[in-house]
Structures are given as structure tokens and as C-alpha cells.
């Protein structure tokens, strides 16, 4: 009522009135908007997600367009340890070694280093030992690493110097700082040659408590003095303010020493042949001490300017645009040393055109543009429209992208083929498995159990392993994109055996040249022998109930878990899924409060040690917080592991590995799950793409044909305009009758035209 009365009162000041903007300003606003949209439209396809980017044009800088799903957590090479970070870090930094891009099996070659270093072994007295010295005799190993001359860092303000040679931006004043908002606001950059001391500095950084390097614990076991340096720095930090700077040059590290300007020496405790693989990871990339001094200046961190977000590397690319919320761009590092495309590869590479760029200087592409794309639907559609050069295949898009022939062969679909899209597959150096907790009295073999009990549990594990039909799982849930695991070692890794030689005879028979899973009847028989005929305890008559702990999130998690329940129902075992979140799941593993669980492992390096250590007794999760989540322990296996890890590759090592794998198959601490097969689609204009699951720096080898891509963009993305016309007609068809109806009604009621204020005032 109050508001009703209000309408009859004179209009108060400040009350709602029609917009103040006159028709002229509105018209101008409309024109500007139309002009902007028009300009955007005229610059190419209307759906171009890279407006203004020269890389889209045929004559622009050669540019690869890619995406990232999550912003990387870290870009500091001492901290980065995830695949989303390695996409960037792998291209920016230059560790001493790298994997040959084409050769298989994986082969280490020099990157910053001139060659792969050969270890020298010494006993406690400092006497040099032969290369095949037993591990027990070796007290120390040394690696002398010679780096290539003429390697240069990317242009960076940390390396800018004034006329006297002093760092230009290492003493920023408050006024200077106020003008800086990103790293690119600095008025000058500098560079310098990479020297051996930079590698030593980076190794010291691994010990810095503030960086929490994920390999600090691992390396502290091997690099002489690293653990002590860590402790020293930790103590020193306690005496400093929260953002206090520690100059690592003031601290010596016995295990990393500069020999000369281009040579440094790493000294390890004992014998650790796998150490060279770590030298191919960004952890060991050179880092100029100037970078730490520059980024430690007060105020920069508050502006998100830190080494963790603005790398300083000597690799083929540098981060020239850094907006992890939207877009990140890698550009060619003008100071990158001379490196050429390989001239030899695996059999068939030449025929596949992978050697046509042999001898050309790397990188072959000027820029790589990464756009943040979180959702699958836009990501996939952008690929189909040619806006991304390559793509993985989600389950939703699988049927559209891939077709299976009558013989079961997987190939590209006709729709993809018509666009020139090519499919590449590669088996990942990973394994996903279902583990049994060795400390569990039913499925495991706790120390207090007797031999008969352990044998019953072993048969139970075998029965469960047979009942879970991995082939069906791969078909249903992974569209065939995996191979069933026969043991812990992934294909492509030394020690893996293919075909009948690699068959797990406890789970499979070799029939007609292929593995065939043993029958459910066989599983039932094993179950009965384990003391559970028809899924019931022979003594108590109680049904056998097993618990599966898993993280119950993610697409399709529930259907996957229900599938596992059905698998065990085949042998009358009741499986109870216990869904939990990731943190609680980790807690349960650490405390041993699981019976069965799901996990996976992605290899760090192509050595069987990196898989077999997952079941090494001293690596137990309970009590040691190691990576052996099953807490599996077998004295013979552990002894063989210690022997195997220090052996050189060859028949003798293979023999030991075979024995270890056989022990594992017999004990079955895991239900051997599957090794994923990665499917990658790429457009025809992207060349030299060869999946290499170990290499992190493959973008420098890729070449793009910008002209072909621009033509495809124009052909595939012409806007369809008739819907706009149709919408206009539909709107008109809706408004016109309404308006005429209104006019008719008003005339019938004898009212005036609402737009004619003068006429109304006459009433």
C-alpha cells in the first residue's frame, strides 16, 4: 500500500527514471560494439580463440597451439615433479642428459653435458675399483660431468648488468619495485654462459628446506654431504626472518664440486647405477646463483614474481608469456646452444618421415602457445576445428575418433581421416594395480602367520586375481586402451618380456599364440583350497568378505567399483568397497588399515629398479613411509633386488629380474592390473611427433606447417549465418503480432499512443 501511494505522489529527487544517456551516446556505444565485433570477425574465422596471435596466420612465426588443464604447481626445477609442470619445465631447462628422441629402447645422451658420464668407484681407502666392482666393495662413486661450452641462459633481468658489470636489478629500491608488476616490466635483460658452478649451485638448492624438493630425501641418501647441508640450512633458517635469504655460495657441499669452468663432479655414497637417469631430469639443470639473489629481494614474492613462476633456463624455450590462469607461451631462447635434430632413430622411423629434418637446428618451432582448457567438450571441439594441433582422446570422444576393424585392430575413424588427422599410440611406462596388504591376516602374510596360513592366503590372492577379468575391464572402461599386466614391469623397460616368455602362468595359459585367462572354475578350485569353498569359510561357514579401500571420486568411479564387486561375485566373494578421500586413503595406507586398495605408478626412469622397488621390503609403507604400499616382504626377493639394482644391464641382470618377477607372480601381492596405452591424435600439419614417455623436452623436435593450418582454419571454420537471420525473422514474427495486437487494443480502448506524450497530456 505504501508503494502504491508512492506512485501517486510527485516524483522525488533521485527516484528511478529512464536512463540518463541520450540516444546519441547509446548509438555511439552500439556502433563501437558493432565495430569491435566486426573487426574481430574480419580478422578471420569468428570462432578463432587466438585473436591477434600472429601464429595463426600462415606467414606468422611458426607456432604450436596446445593446451593445459591445470596450472602447474611449480616451475622451479628443484620442486617441479609432475607431468603438468614438466610440459613447461622440460622445455625451459637443460639438464646434463636427455633421452634420445627416436631410439628405442630408451637411450641416454648428452644434453648440457657432452656425453653420458661413466662412474668411477672407490673403496673406503680411496682406492679406485674396476667398473664391475661389487656394490658391497664400493664406498663412493664419482661422476665427472663435462658440459658443452657456449650454452647460454635466456634473457632475464636477474642477469642484466650495468656498464661496470654489476647486476642491475639486485638492489631494487621501493620506487623501482613500485613500477614492477610482472617480470616483463623490467627495462633490461641480460644473459651469460652456463658454467659448471651453476650445476653445483642447483644441487645445493635440492637441500634447501624452503624449497622442499621432492627428491631431497632420495638424494640425501646418495650425494655426499647433502643431508648435512640440509640440516645446516634448516638450523640457519631458524635464525632468519621468514623471508631471510641464505646465500648457498657460503656453504660447501662435498658431493658436488666444480672441477673447472666446464666440469663438475658429483660424489655418491656407495654404488647407484640408476643415478644417471636422474641427471636427465630438470632437478639437475643449471641455475645461476644470480637468480636466487634476484628473486630473494623483498617485495617481489608479493607480486608473484618468484623463481617458481618465472624460470630462468638455458633450454630451447623460455617462458615469454606467463598467465597460468589463461595462457602460457614458450618462445625460442635466442641463447640456446647448438643442437640438431637426430639423424638416426628406430627401425621404420626414416620411412615414417621422422628423419626428414635430420641435422636441422633445434628447436624447429618458434613458439608454443598453451591455453588453459579445463573441460573436455571445448577442448575436443577446438581440436576438431584445428585450433589445437594435437589431442588425447577422452572416453566420450573415443567412438568418434577411433574405429575397430573386424579383426580387432584399432584405427582412425573415417571422420578423422577425412581431415587428415593421424593416430599414434604408445604404451605408457606405468602400471595400475590392485594391491593386497601383506599385514592383513586374510589376504596377506603377516609375520605371525604360519606356513599353512600363508599358503591359503596365497591361493586366495590367486583366485581373486583370476576372477578379476582385466581384459574385460580394459574393454569396458578404457575402450581397449591398455594391455593387461603380466607382472610389475611396464613394456619398454629393461627386464620386460613380451609374448609367451613374459606370460604369468599363474593367471594365464598360452593358447593359439596368445594369453588366455584361467577359468573361473580354476579360481573356485583355488578358493576351495584356500579354505573358502563356495566363498564360505570352511570352519565357520561364514561368507568371505573382503574390503576394498579406494578413492571414490572421478568420472565413472562408482561403475568401476561395482564392476569389481561383480567380478568377485563370480567366485562368491563379497567385496565391500570403502570409499574415502585421497588424504584418508593415504592415512589408511600409512597405518596399514587396508585389506585391498587401488594404486598406480608412473616410472621416473626406464630401469626395472624403478618398478621392482615398489615391492622391496625395506620400502614398506607402514613404519617406513616408503613406496611399498602392500608392505610386501620376501627375503629372497629383497636379496635379489639388492643384487639387481647395482648390476649392469645384460643377460645376468635379466636372469635375476626374471626370478624376481616369478617370485612376485607366485606370491601375487598385487592383482596385476594394466599398462595404459596412450592414444594421441595430431593434425597433418604437425610433423615429427613420436611418443616418448621418458623425454620431457620433445617440443623442440616438432615442426608445424603454418600455411596448411591456416588453410584448414579457413575451410573448417566459416561461420554459418542463416541462424542469425532466422532468429531475426523469428523475433520479428513474435513482436509484430504483439505490437499490432497492442495497438488494436489501445485503439479499442480509446487510449493514445504511448510514445506520444503530448497527445496523452491532452487527456
Amino acid at each position: 500500500m505504501r508503494t502504491a501511494l508512492r506512485s501517486l505522489l510527485p516524483r522525488p529527487r533521485g527516484s528511478i527514471s529512464p536512463p540518463a544517456a541520450g540516444p546519441g551516446s547509446l548509438r555511439r556505444l552500439l556502433l563501437v560494439t558493432i565495430a569491435m565485433v566486426g573487426l574481430a570477425a574480419c580478422s578471420g574465422p569468428w570462432n578463432n580463440p587466438y585473436p591477434g596471435d600472429p601464429g595463426v596466420r600462415a606467414e606468422g612465426a611458426s607456432t604450436i597451439f596446445s593446451s593445459f588443464r591445470e596450472r602447474p604447481k611449480h616451475l622451479d626445477p628443484a620442486r617441479a615433479y609432475t607431468s603438468d609442470a614438466y610440459v613447461f619445465v622440460g622445455q625451459i631447462y637443460q639438464p646434463p642428459l636427455q633421452y634420445h628422441y627416436l631410439k628405442r629402447p630408451f637411450e641416454l645422451i648428452g644434453f648440457a653435458a657432452t656425453e653420458v658420464p661413466r662412474p668411477r668407484y672407490f673403496d673406503r681407502a680411496g682406492r679406485e675399483l674396476p667398473a664391475d666392482a661389487p656394490a658391497a666393495a664400493v664406498a663412493f662413486s664419482t661422476y665427472d660431468i663435462r658440459i658443452r661450452e657456449g650454452l647460454g641462459y635466456q634473457p632475464h633481468p636477474a642477469l642484466a648488468v650495468d656498464a661496470t658489470g654489476k647486476p642491475r636489478f639486485h638492489g631494487l629500491t621501493a620506487a623501482e619495485l613500485s613500477r614492477v608488476h610482472t617480470l616483463f616490466d623490467f627495462s633490461a635483460t641480460g644473459t651469460r654462459e652456463v658454467v659448471a658452478a651453476d650445476f653445483v649451485h642447483q644441487i645445493k638448492r635440492l637441500a634447501h628446506p624452503r624449497l622442499q624438493s621432492p627428491i631431497q630425501g632420495k638424494m640425501a641418501k646418495y650425494i655426499v654431504g647433502l643431508a648435512e647441508l640440509s640440516d645446516t640450512l634448516r638450523e640457519k633458517l631458524k635464525t632468519l626472518p621468514r623471508d631471510g635469504f641464505i646465500d648457498l655460495a657460503q656453504h660447501e657441499l662435498e658431493g658436488a664440486q666444480v672441477v673447472d669452468r666446464y666440469t663438475f663432479r658429483i660424489r655418491l655414497k656407495g654404488k647407484y647405477p640408476q643415478f644417471v637417469y636422474w641427471l636427465a631430469m630438470p632437478f639437475f639443470s643449471p641455475m645461476p646463483p644470480e637468480a636466487d639473489r634476484f628473486y630473494a629481494q623483498p617485495g617481489l614474492a608479493r607480486k608473484n614474481i618468484s623463481l617458481d613462476w618465472f624460470p630462468i633456463g638455458s633450454g630451447p624455450y623460455m617462458l615469454s608469456e606467463n598467465d597460468p590462469n589463461r595462457r602460457m607461451v614458450l618462445s625460442r631462447n635466442p641463447n640456446f646452444g647448438v643442437e640438431v635434430y637426430p639423424s638416426e632413430g628406430a627401425p621404420g622411423d626414416r620411412e615414417a618421415g621422422l628423419l626428414s629434418d635430420a641435422g636441422r637446428r633445434l628447436p624447429l618451432t618458434d613458439r608454443v602457445v598453451f591455453s588453459l582448457e579445463k573441460e573436455q567438450i571445448p577442448y575436443w571441439n577446438k581440436f576438431l576445428q584445428g585450433w589445437f594441433d594435437s589431442s588425447g582422446i577422452s572416453s566420450d570422444a573415443f567412438d568418434q575418433a577411433v574405429q575397430m576393424s573386424a579383426s580387432g585392430d584399432i584405427g582412425i575413424s573415417d571422420q578423422m581421416s577425412a581431415r587428415g588427422i593421424e593416430l599414434q599410440t604408445s604404451v605408457a611406462t606405468s602400471i595400475f594395480y590392485l594391491g593386497f596388504n601383506w599385514q592383513d591376516a586374510v589376504v596377506g602374510a603377516p609375520e605371525k602367520s604360519d606356513a599353512a596360513g600363508r599358503e591359503r592366503a596365497r591361493k586366495l590372492r590367486h583366485a581373486v586375481s583370476i576372477a578379476i577379468d582385466q581384459e574385460e575391464f580394459i574393454s569396458v572402461f578404457r575402450n581397449g586402451r591398455a594391455i593387461a599386466a603380466q607382472g610389475p614391469i611396464a613394456p619398454g623397460i629393461i627386464g620386460f618380456r613380451d609374448g609367451e616368455a613374459g606370460l604369468n602362468r599363474y593367471m594365464y595359459d598360452w593358447v593359439d599364440g596368445a594369453p588366455r585367462r584361467k577359468s573361473i572354475d580354476h579360481a573356485r578350485k583355488l578358493l576351495a583350497e584356500a579354505g573358502y569353498p563356495n566363498g564360505r569359510d570352511a570352519k565357520t561357514g561364514q561368507p568371505l568378505v573382503l574390503n576394498l579401500d579406494t578413492v571414490g571420486s572421478g568420472a565413472g568411479a562408482r561403475s568401476r567399483i561395482e564392476w569389481y564387486v561383480r567380478q568377485l561375485q563370480k567366485i562368491d566373494i563379497q567385496l565391500v568397497p570403502r570409499l574415502t578421500d585421497w588424504n584418508r586413503f593415504q592415512d589408511k595406507l600409512r597405518q596399514g588399515n587396508v585389506q585391498m586398495y587401488f594404486l598406480g605408478w608412473n616410472a621416473d626412469y626406464p630401469d626395472p629398479e624403478n618398478f621392482l622397488f615398489l615391492l622391496y621390503g625395506p620400502e614398506a609403507k607402514v613404519g617406513r613411509d616408503g613406496n611399498n604400499s602392500s608392505n610386501y616382504r620376501n627375503p629372497e626377493y629383497d636379496q635379489l633386488f639388492e643384487q639387481m639394482k647395482d648390476m649392469a644391464d645384460g643377460p645376468a641382470r635379466q636372469q635375476v629380474i626374471d626370478r624376481m618377477v616369478d617370485i612376485l607372480r607366485a606370491d601375487a601381492p598385487w592383482v596385476w592390473g594394466f599398462h595404459p596405452v596412450d592414444f594421441t591424435l595430431r593434425h597433418a600439419w604437425l610433423a615429427n611427433v613420436q611418443p616418448n614417455t621418458m623425454a620431457q623436452n620433445e617440443l623442440k623436435y616438432h615442426r608445424v606447417d603454418g600455411g596448411a593450418r591456416a588453410l584448414a582454419h579457413a575451410a573448417w571454420n566459416a561461420p554459418v549465418l542463416w541462424p542469425i537471420g532466422l532468429a531475426g525473422v523469428a523475433l520479428f514474427a513474435l513482436v509484430l503480432p504483439a505490437w499490432t495486437g497492442y495497438r488494436r487494443r489501445e485503439r479499442r480502448r480509446g487510449r493514445v499512443d504511448p510514445a506520444d506524450g503530448r497527445a496523452e497530456s491532452r487527456h
Binding site: 569468428w46 613406496n627 499512443d753
Partner: protein, 325 residues
Amino acid sequence: MSAYLLRRLLYAIPILIGVNLLTFALFFVVNTPDDMARMQLGVKRVTPEAIADWKRERGYDRPLLYNAGAAGLDRITDTIFFDKSVRLFVFDFGPADDGRDIGREIRSRMGPSLAIALPVFMLGLAAYIATALLLVFFRQTVFDVAGVIGCVLLMSISAMFYIIGGQYLMSKAWRLAPISGFADGPQMVPFLLLPVFIGVIAGIGASTRWYRTIFLEEMGKEYVRTARAKGLSEMRVLFRHVLQNALIPILTGVVVVIPSLFLGSLLFESFFGIPGLGSYTIDAINAQDFAVVRAMVFLGSVLYIAGLMLTDLSYAWVDPRVRFE
């Protein structure tokens, strides 16, 4: 009015403390600082020393709410809660668990959030009110019935359907706009077309019905009859008198959301690749970044309170008889 505003501001302080305490308790019920450290440090090769260093570096090595080992006031102040909460009241959000400054992130992400939310809000409001008035104008006709049925149908469809359907038609089939992404400056316009259009369409069913109800209620009042008796056209009655008098209920629902526009839309920002605060919040929840979650909840609370105060002020603006007492 000043006294009223001051009083409301003072009321806001305990509310914000309560919200902060609740956020803190809920977060740490499901997450320990160790969990947070493991989440940030990764799954592989994490040592207890690294976890301890991570916690010490970020101040998570102290007790949560009460420090029994400290003396005097430090028992309260030398805790995670106090340390992390007090700074919020001066909008110093500190660093996220990944080290990036939260305040800077929020400032840089507000623009993209607003770029979507503001046009959707303004255009949507105009479209919904206009459509509702149109339906009211044709009330008790086939047009009105069809319009209401259409509204019910539109409001029954999930926002996801609008997004996916819109992306399919507009970007994939007709190629009229980029399917996702964002750019600065004028180049932003093509990226806004699709999400703004879908945002407006997605809300048209529910909002039009709501406004129609408000307008219909007004239409039965005596001043409308008086206006008609004066011989005013129906258009003028609706757009000048009914709309003006319906402002109070409209403002109740509208003004309160204006400050929250800064916070963006979780769904739209994720699907259209908009680097706004909605996606920032989702990312922080996924990463279990307590610092960001706490900052965003606090900011959301502040903006909501600001919205309520603005609503009160707007009442007095449209109706001077409203007094603050």
C-alpha cells in the same frame, strides 16, 4: 543513516568472525596440515622432513585454536587460526599454499569475472523484466499462458544443458563464436558473446516468472486503476507506474547479488575457460588450498553483507518514506 550503517558494520564483525571460525573448523575437520602439505608436495617421494619444512614455512606447525605451550595471550594469538584470520580483516590474504599472493590473484581475476557476470546481470535484468511485463501486458491470453509454460520449461532445464547445447550450436555447428577462452581489451568481446547469451537465456525462465508474479500483484492495486482512469496507455501504466512500484521487491532480490558479481560463476568460468574468481575457488578446493578457500569464503561473506546493506540503502533511494532506525 550514518548511525545505522555504523551499527550494521559493527554487526558484520562478529558475523565475519563466525564465518571464519566455521570455515576454519570445517576445513580442518577433513584436512590436517599434514594433508595439506602432502597435497602440495605431491605423492611421490615425500619425506617427513619435507612435510615439517612445508608446515613451518607457512605457519602450519602451530596448534589450531589454542596453544597450551605458550604463555599469556600467546595461547590464543600463537595459533594457526589467529594468525591466519586477523589479517583477513584488513584484506591481507597472504600467500596461497602454492606461494602466489592471494590478493594479487583476486585483483587480477575480478575483471574476467565481472566481464561475464556484469553483462549477464544487466542484460538479463532488462530481458527478464521486459519479458515479464510483456506477459503481464498480455495476461489471461494465449500468449501469457504460452509464455508461462515456456518459462516453466526453460527453468526445468539444467544450466549444464544450456552451456553444452549453446557451445554445440553456436560454436561447433554454426562457428559463430569461440567455444571457450578469454582475451584482454576489445578482443574480449567475441569470447563474451556465447557465455553472456547463454547466461541470459539460462535465467530467463525462473526470473521472468518471478517478475511476472510481482507485476501481477501490482496490477491489482488501486493506483493502476487510477492511472488507467486518467486515460494513460497500458504501456505507460506498466513501464512507468507498475515497474516503479515493483522496485522494492525487485531490489530485494537484485541488489544483494551485485557485490557478489565479483565472485563470478563456478560453472560458466570452468566451461568457458574464463580466468575468474569462480574457477579460482574451485581450483583451491580441489587443491585443498586452505589459504585461498578461507580468503574466498571471507570475501564472499563481506560482499554478501555489503549486498544486504546496499539493499537497505536502495529501499530508501526508491522510497524516501523508508527510514533507518
